[in-house]
Each structure stands twice: as C-alpha cells, then as structure tokens.
C-alpha cells in the first residue's frame, strides 16, 4: 500500500512527540524505590557520617528511614542517591573492596573526602553535600541528640530564664 505524504508526516510527528514525551517524563518510569543493595550502601554512608560513639549515631536515631522516606516521594533525590551509591561502590572497588559497605572507617572516610573535594557541580560532590546536610538535619532534629550538647530545648514553653548566667556544665 502506498504511503501518502500526509501519513508519513503523521507517523513522523507522532513518533517525535512520543520520543520527546518519553524523554520529558522519563523519571516517572524509573524505579520508585531504592534497591536493597542501594539501601545498604546508603545506610553505611549515613553510619559513617554520624557514627555511634558515647551517644547514638544516625542509625540509632532513625535517620536512614527519613532519608528513604524522602527518596520515595522525590524523584530527583532518589536518582541522586542511586547514582551516588553507584559512585561510592565504584570507588570502593578501586580500594579492592566489593562495595562501600565492606570498607572500614578509614576507607569510607577517604571516599567521602574525595567526593567533597571534587569539582563544583560534580555529581559526587552534590551527592555528599546533600547527604551530609540531610543526615545532620534529621539527626539533630531528634531530641535524642540534644542532651549531649547541653541543649535543653525546645525553646518553649520553658524558655531559658537563666540566660544571663554561664551555662551549666554539659552532660
């Protein structure tokens, strides 16, 4: 059957529109969850950013759950974590480990340091700055992190009527 010029244009334009739409809405068709492997890598990173010492660490205060919860509803954030985890694991393999989770503290620190010192705009730098900021945010918004700082907030209802005196020694 001969193809008319109009049919050809229809198919070409329609196909083009489909391709553009697929590109524009590509995020919608990507996985909505982190894989188990990515979750383990993410948890290892958060544990390194705020480890347990004499006080609880990020894992004990539920930071991974909050990051994952945000990732579940924020496509860009989730993609950044996926790419970041891939990068962390590739760096770990350069240190002869199977993945970031298998590295000891020194190895993980070296990789984090490398990311933070990467060029402005690089994916790994954005990833680590974002993870650092969010981890600190979630961790220090938890009341369980406050006592060791000598912080007896929230600010109200009691305020700080002792404000003109030297603060009490930290616990």
């Amino acid at each position: 059957m001969p193809v008319s010029r109009r049919d050809f244009l229809r198919v070409a334009v329609g196909g083009g529109l489909l391709a553009v739409s697929a590109y524009l809405f590509r995020d919608l068709f990507r996985p909505t969850r982190l894989s188990l492997s990515e979750e383990r890598t993410l948890e290892a990173l958060l544990d390194t950013l705020i480890p347990e010492d004499v006080t609880p660490g990020a894992l004990q205060l539920g930071v991974p759950e909050q990051v994952k919860s945000k990732a579940a509803t924020d496509n860009r954030y989730r993609l950044l974590i996926k790419k970041g985890c891939t990068w962390l694991n590739s760096m770990a393999r350069e240190l002869n480990a199977e993945g970031f989770v298998y590295l000891k503290e020194e190895g993980r620190d070296a990789i984090i340091d490398k990311a933070l010192k990467s060029g402005y705009g690089s994916m790994q730098r954005i990833f680590l700055y974002t993870m650092r900021a969010d981890t600190l945010h979630y961790y220090y918004s938890h009341r369980g992190s406050w006592a060791s700082l000598g912080y007896n907030g929230p600010p109200q209802p009691y305020g700080f009527p002792d404000y003109y005196q030297a603060p009490a020694l930290r616990g």
Partner: protein, 557 residues
C-alpha cells in the same frame, strides 16, 4: 458626597496600618483593615515542638507577596573582603553579579512585626536632615521633637523595655518597662567592645521585662522571629490591632488583597477594590484611605492603579512613586568562642553599639551604622544550624565538635544607612503578574560607592569586635554587597514639603489626592543609621491618625 462605607479604609495591618487603626479608633472613627495575609494565632507557632528549628514561621497560603528583580549589578573582584562566605561552602555567591536574595516580609494580621526581633528604636535626630547636611537622600519635613510625644505613646502601647541614659535621642519620659539584663554571651561582646573603646548598651526592645497590659513577661527563648507564642513580644496583632478591636469600631478582614485604588474625578480616591480569599471581587469606599503595605507593595499598588483620572498611577503626579528605594545595608560575622556561653538563650538582639550611628561618625563616610549581638538573627540558636554551619567535617570528629561548640557562637550584625540612588527603585514588573492579573513588584537595586565604603567599615569593625571578644575563628559572614537581603525597606513614596519632589506631605497625606494617606516606611526620606524602623512607622501613624481626626472634627474630610 455619597455616604462612605467606613470613615477610614486601611490597607495593610503591619506597623503602619495596625497603629493607624488604633490611633483612629481611639478618636471614635470607624475603620476597616484589609489584610492580604491570614490571621495567625500565637498557639500555632512551632516553638514547643521538637521540630521547632525546621520552620521559621508557620507557612500558610498568601503569607508572602511575590516580587521579582531587575538586572543585578556586577561585582568588583577587588572587593572580595565584602563577599559572603562560609567555612563549609566557600563563597556563597559564586557568580560575578550581585545575587537577588530575599525581601523578608510577612503578610498576615500584624505584618512583618509577626517575625521581627522587636527592636524599638527612635531615629537619630541628625539622620533626619541628610539633604541639608550632606546633600544626600532627603530631609524629613518634620523634626524629632515633633515626633517625640508619639514615640512615647507607641512605647507605652507595645511595652518597650529599655535603659536610661540615651544622650542623643531626647526623651520626655522614661521607658515604660525596666531594661532586660544582657545575656551571658553578650557580656563577652561587651568586654570586646570595651577593649576597643566602644560602648555596648542594652538594646531597647518591645519585649516585656515584666507582666504588662495583660501580657506575660518574656522567658528568653531567643526565637522572636519564629513567632512569639507567649505574646510578650509587642507585635502589632497583640497590641494595636487587639486594642483597636476592643473599641468595637474596627473590622479586620484577612486574606483580602487590594487590587486597585479608583481615583475619582476630583481630588479623592473613590473606591478601594479588593479580592477576598475565595476570589470574589468587592469594592469599598472610605472618607479616608490609608495605604500601609510597605515600601515595595505600596508603590506597586499606587503605580498599577491607573485610570483616566490618574493616568500615571495614583499619587504619581511628580513621578516619584517607586523612586528613592532604600534597602537593608547589613553585615553579619559569626565566630566560635573558646568558652561555653549558652548563646542560644536570651533576647535575640539584646545589646547595641550606637557609637557610629550618627550620620558623620564613620570617618570619611556619609551615613552611620550600628553593631549588635545577633546570634538569633543569624539563626544559630539550635542544633541543626550548628551542625550544618558551625561544625565542619563528619563522623566522630563532627560529633565531638558539636559537643564542644554548641552554644559558643557569637554573631555581630551591623546595619547601616542606605542612601537612595537613581538605579534603586520599585516598578511594576513588565512581564509577571499575580493571580489577580496585576503586575508584581520588580525590585531594582544598586549599591553605590558610599554604601560600599560604609559596608567596608561595618565588616572590618564587626570582625574586630569578635576577635577582641575572645573568639577562636570567624566561620561565616554575609553582607549586602553581594546579596540583596532586606527586611527594612524605605523611601518609595517620599514625604516632603513640595509636590514637585515628594509624594506625601509631613502628615503623610498625598499632595494630590486629599483623602489618601501613605503610612509605612515608604515615606521615609532617609533610612537612618541602622535603626529598626517599626517604632518610627508607628509613631508617624499615630501622629497622622491625630491629624485625620482633627480634619474629621473640622468636617474637612
């Protein structure tokens, strides 16, 4: 003349509109206040919750106005010392151009006083004569002495706690409340100032030092700008508006956005058109119309209210509406002290150095400035901001640093005179419109050489004060040179004696439209040397209310 719906229609319920409402109702006039934002209840502020640090003020629809920026000025490489930076991120603005930051304001019953730090400053008398003394800005067409009795009234209404002994600003009566003690952290700054030969005084604030007028005393939580749940902060909603409502002669309609003033065929504004929360259009008439929307929204409303009777916009016959825009000239330096200070406690801006506040007190610079302790203004009163901004690194060393430094930050803020220039003005945006189809305000801003020289002095002195106060290192600084960030804006409807070069007269009455008054900081001919403007706006408002009442008594409006 047709019967008006109200004696006075007031647009905006902040410092100017709220004080006007009280000032008019106390004379028996019937007023309606149209407020674009919502009414807040102090019980909805977040400060009692563990999530307090994560939100500055309850976000609600319509609580901020939209605005845009004109082209921003190119930054000079040789002025790197005035660039904003932090030890975490390096330069905050990595471009070659000044950044368009934020116009810090609040739409809501009470206006921006809902989030202010409650500084209650009288203007330096000398800074009201900048044109005749130095050939810059404009002269105020009234004197400090004329304003002084109104300052006293305002201080009594909002409950100002302040010290005695101000030798610059004459007072006819003492502050109504005794001063607060300065915080332990600020004593370190005071020691640092003393080493430099500077005086750090107690800052007068509209924060109650003891129970007053049915409100409790402050408990020093340091977070005034997140909204005061106790109501000890003298914001307009719990002072002027409350008292105006108690008279039974005031109606406040929130979430009602005024879309136009309709100029009549003679010398009066005939109607005020507004849109309510669900998008219905209404019109009101008043014997008097008061516009109190602040120095950015007021000129927008006037300039977009064009009709055949006001072809260039209302009150813009001289072409001065939107001109002479003055912004906040600021500098922040934050540092970590060696000693545990508990600096997250107290009054947000509890102390102030007035030594350079006079218009000629900075060597070689026209226009003054002041320095204050300002950890809370820098938003360094909670663990999250310490963790993100003050402590570096990660891991165990970060946690140890947090345990060592929390509560040890000292911040100095310097605020200075802003001089008007031809490149700084407000105009309707030619492209962007709001939901009602009205152009939003476009901010055109430029920092000229004199302001830069003042900023250089402000940054240098801020660092000197911190270093002599015993800090280890400065870790974060920000300033107006590379980023527009303004809470205090002035000057876009200048008051003056002549209709040729001003918009309103000394009683804030339009030279052209005889039932129109502008009552906010847009009438300021000069900004002052870093004083917070709300007390002066409120004093002007009550003076104008007295004037309007006298006109009403004479049957002249």
């Amino acid at each position: 003349m047709a019967q008006a719906d109200f004696d006075v229609v007031i647009i905006g319920s902040g410092a100017g509109g709220g004080a006007s409402a009280w000032g008019l109702t106390r004379h028996g006039l019937k007023v309606i206040v149209l407020e674009a934002g919502p009414a807040y209840s102090p019980s909805e502020y977040n400060l009692t919750r563990d999530t307090w640090e994560q939100s500055a003020f309850p976000d609600r629809a319509r609580h901020k106005g939209n605005y845009s920026f004109g082209p921003m000025q190119r930054l000079r490489p040789q002025l790197k010392g005035l660039r904003s930076w932090s030890h975490i991120d390096g330069f905050t603005n990595n471009t070659d151009y000044r950044a368009s930051g934020t116009y810090h304001h609040m739409r809501g019953v009470g206006g921006s006083t809902l989030i202010f730090s409650a500084e209650a400053h009288r203007l330096h008398p000398d800074s009201m004569k900048m044109r005749s003394r130095f050939g810059v800005a404009g002269d105020w067409p009234l004197t400090y002495s004329e304003l002084e009795p109104y300052y006293c009234i305002v201080e009594r209404i909002i409950g100002v706690a302040g010290p005695s002994g101000d030798t610059v600003r004459y007072r006819s009566e003492p502050y109504p409340l005794p001063p607060h003690r300065i915080s332990y952290a600020s004593t370190k700054i005071r020691e640092g100032c003393l080493k430099l030969g500077l005086n750090l005084a107690i800052n007068p604030v509209a924060i109650l030092s003891r129970p007053y007028d049915g409100r409790p005393e402050c408990n020093y939580c340091a977070n005034c700008y997140r909204g005061c749940p106790r109501t000890d902060k003298g914001s307009v909603d719990v002072t002027f508006i409350r008292k105006a409502l108690e008279t039974g002669r005031c109606v406040v309609k929130d979430e009602c956005r005024v879309t136009a003033l309709l100029a009549g065929p003679s010398d009066r504004i005939a109607k005020v058109e507004y849109m309510d929360a669900v998008g219905r259009n209404h019109a009101l008439s008043g014997r008097v119309i008061i516009v109190s929307c602040g120095a950015i929204e007021t000129p927008r409303l006037l300039l977009t209210s064009k009709n055949n009777n006001a072809p260039d916009g209302v009150a813009n016959e001289s072409g001065n509406v939107g001109k002479h825009f003055m912004e906040t000239i600021y500098w922040f330096s934050s540092a970590i002290h060696t000693e545990s200070l508990g600096s997250h406690r107290g009054i947000p801006v509890d102390s102030i150095c007035w030594d350079f506040n006079g218009a000629d007190s900075i060597p070689g610079v026209i226009g003054g400035c002041r320095f204050s302790s300002a950890v809370a203004e820098a938003d360094l009163t909670g663990p999250i901001n310490y963790a993100k901004r003050a402590a570096t690194g990660w891991g165990k060393s970060h946690k140890e640093a947090m345990r060592r430094i929390f509560g040890n930050v000292l911040t100095i803020v310097a605020m200075g005179e802003s001089l008007p220039n031809k490149k700084s003005y407000i105009e309707p945006d030619p492209l962007i419109k709001d939901g009602a189809g009205i152009p939003i305000a476009r901010i055109n801003t430029f920092i000229e050489d004199m302001d830069i020289r003042r900023l250089e002095f402000m940054s240098k002195t801020s660092r000197e004060i911190l270093l002599s106060s015993g800090v280890q290192k400065i870790f974060e600084e920000s300033g107006a040179y590379d980023t527009f960030n303004s809470s205090h804006v002035f000057g876009t409807c200048r008051m003056g004696s002549s209709p040729e070069d001003s918009v309103v007269d000394s009683y804030l009455r339009s030279h052209r439209w005889r039932n129109l008054f502008v009552v906010d900081a847009s009438v300021f001919p000069s900004s002052g040397g870093g004083e917070s403007p709300s007390l002066t706006i409120e004093a002007l408002a009550i003076r104008t209310a007295d004037y309007i009442a006298s006109l009403a008594n004479k049957g002249e409006i």
